[in-house]
Amino acid sequence: MNLSHSNPVTLPAGRDVRGKLSRDDVIMRGGMIVIALYLVVTLAFPLYAMLSKSFSTFRFELAQYEFQVSDEAGVFDGTILNGAQLNQSTGAYSGGDLAAGSDSRLAVTPFFPDFSFRSPVQYQIRNASDTGRFLVGSDLYDDTDWLTLDSNTFRRVQLRPVKSRGIDNFVNYFSTPALFNSIKNSLWIAVVSTIVTVTLAFWFAYALNRSCMRFKGLFRLVAMAPILVPSLLPGIALVYLFGNQGMLKELLFGASIYGPIGIVIGSVFFTFPHAFLIISTALAISDARLYEAAISLRATPWRTFWTVTIPGARYGLISAAFVVFNLVITDFGLPKVIGGQFNVLAVDIYKQVIGQQNFEMGAVVSVVLVVPAILAFAIDRLVQSKQVALLSARSVPYQPTPNPRVDRIFLAYSTLVALFIVGILAVCQFAALIKFWPYDLNLSLNNYAFDKMDGGGWASYFNSIKLGLLTAVIGTSVVFFGAYLVEKSNGFKVGRALFQMFAMLPMAIPGMVLGLAYIFFFNNPANPLNPIYGTMAILVICTVTHFYTVSHLTAVTALKQMDREFESVSSSLKQPTMKLFARVTVPVCLPAVLDISIYLFVNAMTTVSAVVFLYSPKTTLASVAVLNMDDAGDIAPAAAMGMMIFYTNAVARILHLIASKGVLARTQAWRNR
């Protein structure tokens, strides 16, 4: 009686059975490819365009030009002068002068010290090679024929640079202290802000989770408020509080709020809710049994804190730290408003591109900024995957016991933090309603007359709402459908893994970088997608892509909670998967769908960094208007517009809450048994 499996058995040679694709498989794979292509076109291609831009250099190659000069009678003697030699003999341009941008031009008259535009001397110029190009006025010459010009016209000759690939831009960047100092600055404020925010948020979350103080719901609400405003709004409040004419200026003892101090305080404000949420979740899931064990071992509260609480929340703390670090180092609005002379990377990108029109250098700074952002992102993902493992362990939620003295201390602390947050918002609202700080303190609505200011007026506000709604509707559809396809389709493993990777990428890309990459990609006349440049469409696409990752993760989490066999049942019943999607998946996941839409809406309202490069006069946005009005010195209207964004988002959140409740009550009657 020899049992077959006691022998080593191996798969017989031959080809694996390949399944015939059903119509649903084809539809689902097709859909997945379409959405993956969307991500490739709106993310991978622009980033590639940016990367290649950072490596493209422009230089004036003087050896490519030849000249002849006539005598006073206009007769040429046949002597050919090379541009490079002329420069050497005259010393007209230094090596640095010859490094160029894509739009640079170089005049040629300095090669001829005797030149006078009134003289009767004639000049001849030609390109010595095919790559040479020069302009006369606005006419481009790129052939190698001699061109004869009188002195007056010769004055208008300008050489054009030659494009090549290389690391010159980077060399240039790292040899310019004014530029590379920003790396240090950025890291410095990011680290300091991270330490301060995580510490504050930890104790705040601790108070809410581990004490029996009162008003927890209110504190939770206040803690989340900064999410509803653009990151630059606290900057405006700080100007009012501590600026040159600030209300509390004396508190700084002569230090200036314009610079690292302002950036750090503002960063703490706008990153606080993110850190609070993550740490609060980590504290909420920690295991009560460990505390019981600690008590039975008679550990002191101090010891328990260090041996139980901190280790239990460590993944949350690390994750929060990296998220905050990333938010601060990639933020543009706040340092733009309050940074003063303190240069940081994100603002450098803006200055290079908008101020100096040096796109190549903008691309270089972007590449430099992407490095820490991707690192922080990668570490955060690693830590999060560990925390999931922690979560799945069976644990008993911790129930705090009242302790009047400690509870009072926590209440006092939480009140201070809440006052800071509410205070910043209140100052902005106050600033918006004051006629002319600090000279005329009467209330007025003058600052809401946006149409009289730079920044696009009320149209910006309505554009922002339009952008928010479009982003919410289109983004939610694309993201949720994409997540469904990648979660629930069969086989196609490589394709799905690639898709997941693409979906994670946007989180690692700073908004400034994305925006700049969009310029390079979409503003290229050779791109068939060029027509969307300067329209609302590109703003929607950019915003959806910018906030893709968190939305995708929300959708995936919800989908993972659905029974894996729904699709099997549906296909055994010969029903199209799309019917299942519409009739079951979407209704069951409606809470997540609504969460994604509000997330996208709020972010579309507040985002500055990506869209600041992409708006056009017809598509100005409220958040950008805040920036521009502040830039133009209209600080009070900027505050007013910022508060408009706040109220709009607050209303949106309330509507979302009501809608969620209503929808839950109606379509999810099955939830209450």
Binding site: M1, N2, L3, S4, H5, S6, V9, T10, L11, P12, G14, D16, V17, R18, G19, K20, L21, S22, R23, D24, D25, D563, E565, F566, S568, V569, S570, S571, S572, L573, K574, Q575, P576, K579, R583, V584, P587, V588, T667, Q668, A669, W670, R671, R673
Partner: protein, 377 residues
């Protein structure tokens, strides 16, 4: 089941099926025929590949090698939607946001039936599974057993040729389980639908199946009717997995003889070389208890094969409701013990109690010989 020739033709034909997950082989050369109208159970320990085989039949996870023929049609590489089956999962997989009616009607839509027909069919199915009043409720409002009946109704709504059940009862508590067992069996008989059910519960398989496929580590150990599997296990794995089995280290004698300890005993015919190390096996309920005088020719419970009878010490007795489980000792078992199940009647008649000596007989046609295997007998 009526055994007409037509009904006996294989409805489902599985030929040399293999399934690899990377290097791991979850199914190794599985071949199996299932007749039309048959109720077949895949039975085996956790991880033996039952679900994998079922999903290959359904087309939910394709096999790596091999063929599946259903009703004369090669369905080996067809997607589930192009095959003909209904399926019920352990988790019920009812759509939580649709009412019971809509759940059952889900597969009836887009099949050329009009609304009235669908409503009528749903009512008929609800009647069939014994829940005629529950159509308007949501799944979460029903008990587990009721939900599983709805899942069954949904699976058979379109009259599929094949019904696949993956541990449909294992999420339910014991009582509901036994009850639903009979209902499913009854329903299957009524509809005559060919059914494959996966289970790791041997009682369930024995009670429900026309034929049982015992699987282990990706291979089929034995296929047979419940009585065959129970009475004639093909090997020690099957013998051990189903029911209780005493296993005694022994040596083979000539066919029909096994040597336990010092004595040769009559056993079933076997094919081992004399002297080979084997396992002699007998089920507890097959051990025959005898009174003291059973060896005398005139005794009412006369011993049939005297070589197979010997004295044992009753070491321990445990009352299990309908019978007594007794642990019996004899030096033949090498310090081990023999477990025997005696009827209440026999215990009373023979006045058995812990510590008493008694005579038992191992009937020759119930004493089996198996190869010692890696199962760690």
């Amino acid at each position: 089941m009526i055994d007409t020739p037509a009904a006996a033709a294989p409805y489902l034909n599985i030929e040399s099926l293999w399934k690899a997950f990377g290097d791991f082989l979850a199914l190794k050369d599985i071949s199996l025929n299932i007749k039309e109208g048959e109720f077949v159970c895949f039975l085996g320990p956790s991880g033996c590949g039952k679900t994998t085989l079922l999903r290959a039949i359904a087309g939910l996870d394709l096999q790596t090698r091999g063929r599946v023929m259903q009703d004369g049609r090669d369905v080996s590489n067809l997607p589930p939607s192009e095959r003909d089956f209904g399926i019920v999962f352990q988790s019920y997989a009812l759509f939580p946001n649709l009412t019971i009616e809509k759940n059952i009607a889900f597969g009836l839509e887009n099949t050329g039936r009009n609304k009235a027909e669908i409503t009528a069919r749903v009512a008929e199915l609800l009647q069939l599974v014994g829940l005629p009043e529950q159509g308007r409720k949501y799944p979460a409002q029903l008990s587990g057993g009721q939900q599983q009946r709805i899942a069954l109704a949904r699976a058979i709504a379109t009259n599929p040729g094949l019904l696949l059940l993956d541990e449909p009862l294992s999420a339910l508590d014991a009582k509901v389980r036994v009850h639903l067992r009979h209902e499913i069996k009854e329903l299957q008989r009524q509809l005559g639908v060919t059914t494959v059910m996966v289970t790791h519960d041997q009682e369930e398989a024995l009670a429900m199946a026309d034929r049982i496929v015992v699987m282990n580590q990706g291979v089929i150990e034995q296929v047979g009717s419940p009585t065959e599997i129970y009475r004639e296990p093909a090997n020690l794995f099957v013998a051990d997995f189903i029911g209780e089995m005493n296993q005694i280290s022994a040596l083979a004698g000539p066919s029909g003889v096994v040597r336990i300890g010092e004595s040769d005993m009559q056993a079933r015919p076997h094919a081992f070389q004399p002297g080979a190390a084997i396992i002699a096996a007998i089920r507890p309920e097959d051990v025959i208890p005898h009174g003291k005088g059973a060896r005398s020719p005139g005794a009412p419970d006369r011993i049939k094969s005297p070589e197979n009878a010997f004295e044992v010490l009753v070491d321990e007795m445990e009352f299990l409701g309908s019978f007594w489980r007794c642990r019996l000792q004899n030096e033949r078992f090498g310090g081990g013990e023999l477990i025997a199940d005696f009827s209440i009647n026999a215990v009373r008649r023979l006045e058995l109690a812990a510590g008493t000596q008694m005579m038992i007989e191992l009937p020759r046609n119930r004493l089996m010989a198996f190869a010692r295997s890696e199962y760690g007998a």
